[in-house]
Symmetry: C2
């Protein structure tokens, strides 16, 4: 028994502590109310041995293994799908509650998909000892859609996304910066006289095309009938989180040259009539939402303002001119915070409260 667990506070492992999301997680753990005893930072062998500040202490990152997971009460996974698929069940078998930020278990019927502002009660339905965290684009959007659903009864979502490169990890961020450095100062690039593909060369990083001076209507992998995995996640996860198995969802996911901050343009159709003012009122009072809706004053949600903040920024709220039951709106959120690390931390804190209360 460690000193920390003797203190009565649950112990935590952060798996993938040195990645893009894991790094934000360590910042959040340092800034949020402390509910944890011992914190262990775990990673692949490549990053083991690194020193990371977390909660005011310098911690040495250890290699992920059964022995480094042993005795942990809650294990967060900010790692690729295949690593979660293998290790989240192992952590659960060792007695931890696994909170997984990958896509490996999100659609598993025996794994709840939890957004603490929407369905916190679901954390107890975890027969596998695993709780899933939703996709970053879904999370950004759903925090703003849920209060409108409660007010008006959601029937359909048509979504177009504007996704930041950090959604593809630190390598995505590095790739965009490399490309921007290459094109800076060449003032014909992007016009009919300047070929961006030639200027960028093969330095595409994790993307199928250059991002600098471009938008790329593709994110994820190819699934049935031309849909991308990212588009299906938005559909399936929205349905599961809201408990609306028949919700209509059509999404087009597009990567844009933004570092951090996913945005979505949403056309939402409800079961009852809406008003723009009523929608604004519902959002003004909603948790984890900031309403920024004054176009005349230049106030609308944008990635450069939302980055580094916790809530989803919502604005451009308009009632459809053709359908009194439909709203159009624009939402931006930090894909590494509420879109990933923050929601995972919130879920883990709910579990910590449950464990502490026992």
């Amino acid at each position: 028994m460690t000193a920390a667990s003797r203190s009565g506070l649950p112990s935590l492992a952060v798996v993938g502590a040195t990645g893009a999301v894991g790094t934000v997680m360590c910042e959040l753990l340092s800034a949020r109310k402390n509910v944890w005893g011992e914190i262990r930072l775990l990673s692949s062998p490549r990053s083991a041995g690194k020193k990371v500040y977390c909660r005011g202490e310098e911690l040495t990152v250890q290699e992920l293994s059964e022995s480094t997971l042993a005795g942990v009460d809650v294990a967060m996974f900010d790692v690729p799908d295949e690593v979660s698929a293998e290790w989240a069940p192992r952590a659960a078998a060792l007695g931890a509650v696994a909170v997984d930020n990958s896509a490996a278990f999100r659609m598993d019927r025996d794994v709840p998909l939890v957004v603490p502002e929407i369905n916190p009660e679901q954390i107890r339905n975890r027969p596998k000892g695993i709780i899933a965290n939703a996709n970053c684009t879904t999370l950004t959007m759903i925090v703003a859609i849920a209060p409108l659903h409660r007010e008006y009864g959601l029937r359909e979502l048509v979504v177009a996304s504007y996704q930041a490169v950090s959604g593809a990890g630190q390598v995505g961020v590095d790739t965009l910066h490399d490309q921007l450095t290459k094109i800076a100062g060449d003032r014909v690039l992007g016009s009919r006289s300047g070929n961006v593909r030639q200027a960028i060369g093969d330095d595409l990083g994790p993307f199928p095309a250059p991002l600098a001076l471009n938008v790329v209507p593709w994110a994820g992998s190819l699934k049935d009938a031309g849909w991308s995995s990212e588009e299906l996640k938005l559909r399936n996860e929205s349905r599961k989180i809201l408990g609306l198995p028949d919700l209509k969802v059509s999404a087009t996911c597009v990567r844009v040259p933004v570092v951090t901050g996913h945005s979505v343009a949403v056309h939402a159709v409800f079961g009852s009539e809406v008003t723009a003012d009523g929608a604004r009122e519902a959002l003004r009072n909603a948790p984890s939402v900031i309403l920024v809706d004054d176009p005349a004053a230049g106030e609308f949600p944008m990635p450069i303002d939302a980055v580094g903040t916790d809530p989803s920024w919502v604005g451009r709220i308009r009632r459809s001119m053709d359908d009194p039951r439909a709203l159009d709106l624009f939402v931006t959120g930090d894909n590494l915070r509420k879109g990933a690390a923050l929601n995972t931390a919130q879920i883990a804190e709910l579990v910590a409260a449950e464990l502490t209360a026992k």
Copy 2:
């Protein structure tokens, strides 16, 4: 009577010849089949006297006036709304057919709004002697939507745009390049640790917020109930061009850090059932459309490929999973070509053919 008009070919004035669209117009007039006698390049006093190559000749830009418009058969206007509002009727009074690329006359019942691939017959319905060219975003989209409408009967459009800075003119392009030069090499900008607003300062050009490393959900001016002028143009112009006064249209217009090439994510609902293959077939055979729809091979429409080309690039064609009458697709086109200069040139050429046939 000038030498050119004696040749039997109609004479042309390009008003606004030195602007972003006018410059492309001079290139197009040099590259397309020559149907013109004399060509006069006109501008504000500020640009008068400049030398511009057009159709292999060096022409001196003259100041716009009644005397420089006199004797012209067709006058194209690539100028701000208020200049067109004043001068297009004057050109018509002097005997010219005015082809106007501004928004001044688009919704005038006595002015046809013409896309030559869709409603060329409308050029003859011009009681005011004025023919209007549509907004750049509308044009990019409508070329791809019209063939689908003919096949399936369009009922509703939900649109999210990804609009390039050149839609705001050369000052928009300069602003983005200035901003990209400022941020290049600062690899924390756009992240939670780097403030883009501070780095860019007040250099916002024609935009309400920085465009570098950002997306701005605003284009145009504020109209009723929170809608922007750009969003209403997409709605009203689509209805007029397609002859569908009851078409449902909800649009969210967003500016992105792209130099040239407007894109739209479209959710289109039809009166009859659709298939993705049927839609692809209709688009493969449509004029002014390139089908690029093979995500597995990295083929989808993107601004860096569409810039400098004539057609609308269409791809990411998917049938809605919830509605067999709905399609989702992505369209990109050069906003200065088909979105502006090219469509204006095509209309003018239809008028030239009519005048020549007389």
